[in-house]
């Protein structure tokens, strides 16, 4: 079958503080492109057009504009931080183009120009809190990197934990890239929370987890089995950077290596890889056997094609919420919640928080 050559953008930072996540997404997208290009029954092949913002949030808008102005690409797979995603949306809007975003994020967005193929809070944070509070307690310490992901995750966590009768013992942020975790660890040692919600990214997160491991070794009261660190964005792709510091970490995500539940086919290194992979496949499904469809705006593309994984109202997808703990360098399933539609504004699904339960006092 003759293949239409369709350019698609790849906008991932191959250096900088979150490059491990970028690389995971990028390899998922490239693997999908290779599979589709080799498929003899498909009438299209994708030609990746790559730009590398190098971890600089201000470079994303310019480079996205470059892809959309200088090539025929109308679909871009890319962005890791919410900060960078929000930077490219005005550019996408101007060009009538689409971003396929394959990373968990904090919600409260449903752009007409973005497809969100990874989880939002009703698919990661809320199931994680529902699991941790009965299992470990309701006294929490919140950490995060100083931008929208950390701020909004911790705001929602605070709301849910206090609604459930819990308590926030501390909340502290670090600039992206900072390794200055001493004060957080001191506060945690002093306040002894039942769990720590970690919304730090990159080196800040690696440094914090290493320091918390050391604290746990010095004082068994801080063993991760007793007072775990929780994460909504930690996947296998960052385990090499963490080594033993990851042991005992509990993460929520739609996929972990070797655990069933991911709605698509295939085996992946991490959910980041899986979400980028499924994005490229879904794009191919929308464009296949429809010459010219690659120029349509996303709304029209979705309306005309029908079916598929993308909710036409919110542009989010249906994903399971798996909760897994790092043991011996790999994630082991702790709890599974059945697949649920992404609900970015928390308006669609019943979102009742975990109810307070009585505890025996002796």
């Amino acid at each position: 079958m003759t293949k239409r050559r369709i350019e698609i953008g790849l906008l991932y930072s191959r250096s900088g503080s979150y490059s491990l996540i970028s690389e995971a997404c990028r390899s998922g997208a490239l693997a999908a492109i290779a599979e589709l290009n080799a498929d003899p029954d498909l009438d299209l092949s994708f030609v990746p057009v790559e730009r590398d913002p190098g971890g600089n949030a201000d470079a994303y808008g310019t480079l996205c504009d470059e892809i959309l102005s200088q090539t025929g690409a109308r679909h871009v797979i890319g962005c890791v931080t919410s900060w960078s995603r929000k930077e490219v949306i005005p550019t996408l809007e101007r060009h009538g183009a689409t971003l396929w975003y394959a990373v968990p994020y904090e919600g409260w967005e449903a752009s007409d120009h973005v497809v969100y193929t990874h989880a939002c809070p009703n698919q990661h944070l809320l199931p994680l809190l529902d699991w941790v509070m009965p299992a470990h307690g309701r006294r929490a310490y919140l950490t995060g990197s100083n931008y929208i992901w950390g701020w909004e995750m911790n705001r929602l966590a605070r709301e849910r934990i206090t609604q459930a009768g819990g308590e926030i013992l501390g909340e502290r942020y670090l600039p992206i890239g900072s390794r200055d975790v001493g004060r957080m660890v001191d506060e945690i040692r002093a306040s002894r929370p039942d769990f720590v919600l970690n919304s730090l990214i990159g080196p800040s997160s690696y440094e914090f987890l290493a320091a918390y491991r050391d604290l746990g070794r010095a004082d068994p009261d801080f063993a991760p089995s007793r007072r775990p660190v929780l994460s909504c964005n930690m996947t296998e792709c960052e385990l090499p950077a963490l080594g033993t510091a990851a042991e005992g970490l509990v993460a929520a995500g739609p996929y972990f290596r070797g655990i069933d539940g991911w709605p698509g086919k295939g085996r992946f290194g991490s959910s980041h890889e899986a979400a980028a992979h499924v994005a490229v496949h879904e794009l191919a499904r929308l464009l296949a056997h429809r010459p010219g469809a690659e120029l349509l705006p996303l709304s029209q593309l979705l309306a005309e094609a029908g079916g598929g994984i993308v909710d036409p109202e919110t542009h989010h997808t249906v994903l399971p919420a798996l909760i897994a703990r790092v043991e011996g360098g790999a994630f082991r399933l702790v709890h599974r919640r059945e697949a649920v539609a992404g609900d970015p504004y928390l308006t669609r699904t019943s979102q009742s928080p975990a109810t307070p339960t009585l505890r025996v006092v002796s």
């Binding site: 409260w108 449903a110 752009s111 007409d112 919110t314 504004y345 928390l346 308006t347 669609r348």
Partner: protein
Amino acid sequence: MRRPIRIPTLGGARAVILHRPHPTVQALLRQLTAIGLEVTQSWPELAADALGADYVFFDADMGHDGMFPWPAGEPPMPMIALIGSEAPGRVEWSLRAGSHAQLLKPVGDNGAYSALLIARDAFDAQKALSAEIADLKRRLDGRQTVVRAVTLLAARGKTEEQAYAQLRQMAMAWRISFEDAAARIVASRDDRTGDAQDV
């Protein structure tokens, strides 16, 4: 200090867009539907069922007082102005119409969510303030009555302070406000025209 914002329940909330059919309406409809609201469009006037809406978005460019089924400037729900011409006359009119927030036209991919939250917060704050002012006004109006009631009670050999305390105890016993208790004492005294019965 400012109170924390209350995030309103938007799932299934009803919004009416009062605007002629236009791409701006389509863009706004898409945003509101994505957020989870039920949306209807209405033009040139609000349909009667708009009274049950939780939010009204209205065209500030072609708007006029007769388009709302309530007294000018007294909307029973948060209102968001859709502003195209940023002319002082139009801004003034949309403020007089009672807008709590605005969205600039052409409406694109975003803006609706923050407009909903800001409008709800402003509407609630306005309502709470109006209620507080009405209460303060009522109490201010009752001030003269309180003075008369204290004087009446003090006329029986009490100090002003004791009379005041007695009035407070009566209000508590009767489970009514201080001002209402004063009004009751003054009224009973006026009725009895000098009779010696104890209140």
